[in-house]
């Protein structure tokens, strides 16, 4: 029963942090001088985007480990992280648009980070699709690992190419110690970031367990018929 208790711990941590983050984000942090109350969207948007990039990193590392060691466990982690990554990329895109409408006056702009995130969304949808379309699951795992690695290598290049093409996104607010954000806001952002990261870990563990059970059931079914 040990994995269950770890899972409960993660769920509880995510719930407590998300609740605290909600209090900080909606009540304790001040409205922004320029953006007013709209700045609160940041507390959901930035953590979604950060979690999406964390998931992409997980996919890349797990894919590399899978190709190296060929243990199905790594593939299950990569697959699960990719699914959660697509979810959070979608959330980041949606919350970004909702934030962009009042602040920039438009749902969408042809800006570097928006286009990079949209491309990331498409590449990882392709990743999930390859798995579904592959002739057998072992081959699908190998193909997906290849895309996971290519995608992760590509994202920095896409980012630079798109940002040099044309850009308008506000520069990242927290850059290497050079903090340009009011402390209560930073507090709210950090709490929400950790809430999202723990939620990510919780979802990942849950999804990997589901994948393991699915594999076990498939193996058992194969044993019965064969």
């Amino acid at each position: 029963m040990r994995p269950v208790s770890g899972l409960t711990l993660l769920a509880a941590g995510a719930a407590i942090l998300a609740g605290t983050g909600l209090v900080f984000g909606l009540i304790l942090s001040p409205p922004d001088a320029f953006q007013g109350e709209y700045v609160r969207i940041m507390y959901a948007h930035v953590p979604s985007a950060a979690t999406a990039y964390l998931a992409v990193g997980t996919v890349a590392v797990a894919s590399l480990l899978y190709l190296w060691k060929r243990r199905p466990a790594y593939d299950r982690v990569a697959h699960s992280a990719a699914e959660i990554g697509v979810l959070f990329t979608g959330l980041a895109l949606a919350s970004g648009m909702i934030w962009g409408k009042p602040v920039w006056g438009t749902w969408w702009t042809w800006d570097a980070r928006l286009v990079t995130t949209a491309m990331l969304f498409l590449i990882y949808i392709g990743y999930l699709l390859v798995r579904e379309l592959a002739e057998d699951s072992e081959r699908g795992a190998r193909m997906a690992a290849v895309i996971g690695i290519v995608g992760a290598l590509d994202i920095p290049v896409i980012h630079y190419s798109v940002s040099w093409f044309r850009t308008l996104h506000q520069p990242a607010s927290i850059v290497r110690g050079d903090i340009q954000i009011a402390p209560p806001m930073l507090m709210a952002l950090m709490i929400n970031l950790s809430a999202f990261f723990i939620l990510y870990a919780f979802l990942l563990v849950l999804r990997v367990r589901l994948a393991r059970l699915e594999d076990a059931r498939a193996a058992a079914a194969l044993g019965e018929t064969g």
Partner: protein
């Protein structure tokens, strides 16, 4: 036989097959022409749009044709025979990549005079630079196109995969190609784009052969 000879033999075989049928190149040229005409007409034949239209046409044509040679091999069940030959699978990759690159470069060379006519560009004295820019972009497209072609062989609905993968992943090639072509046509400094495109090429020409071997393990 060393690796170069082995890769050369594969490239020669691919190009010879293509030369005898000329299906892939014909389809790519016609499709690229179609895209150029459609976009030129829909957006207006302004010369400032020419480089963007050209690179979109090249990218879409690459997407259409990149998977074809390898699919033909898989359908003819000759891919297994090719894999049975001794030697590293990496040489197979280099040969196929070179053949695809040659085909795409031919396409680019055919598109340039066409663009000169359609968009009223004066490109004759800049032709070497434009071909150089095309070669840099084609290297990236061929590197990834060959890798994804190997991937598409063992997938249901093979035609679906190439558009979904090649276009988003090779977005930097298209963007850098557009800006470099513009810079060449207006005689401006290429800036960081040359470095970005070269970095993209090197990155995927180094990693794609390794990943190709993984895909070809038991093809």
């Amino acid at each position: 036989m060393n690796g170069f000879q082995r890769a050369g033999a594969v490239a020669r075989k691919d190009l010879l097959l293509e030369w005898r049928g000329r299906q892939t190149v014909t389809a790519m040229v016609v499709f690229a022409l179609l895209v150029t005409l459609l976009l030129g007409f829909a957006l207006g034949g302004d010369s400032v749009r020419a480089s963007a239209i050209l690179w979109i046409a090249l990218g879409l044509a690459a997407m259409l044709g990149a998977g074809r040679p390898m699919l033909a091999e898989a359908e003819g069940e000759t891919l297994e025979a090719l894999l049975l030959y001794p030697g590293s699978r990496e040489h197979l990759y280099w040969g196929k990549c070179a053949a695809l690159g040659a085909m795409l470069l031919l396409l680019w060379a055919a598109l340039l005079p066409l663009a000169g006519i359609l968009f009223n560009l004066d490109l004759w004295d800049r032709l070497p630079a434009l071909l150089g820019v095309g070669a840099l972009g084609v290297a990236g497209l061929a590197a990834l196109g060959t890798l994804f072609a190997a991937l598409a062989v063992h997938v249901r609905g093979r035609e679906l995969l190439m558009p979904l993968l090649l276009l988003p992943v090779s977005l930097p090639v298209v963007l850098a190609g557009v800006r470099l072509t513009e810079a060449t046509l207006t005689r401006e400094a290429p800036g960081l784009w040359l470095g970005l495109l070269a970095a993209f090429d090197v990155l995927f020409l180094l990693t794609a052969p390794l990943l190709f071997e993984v895909l070809m393990e038991d093809a």
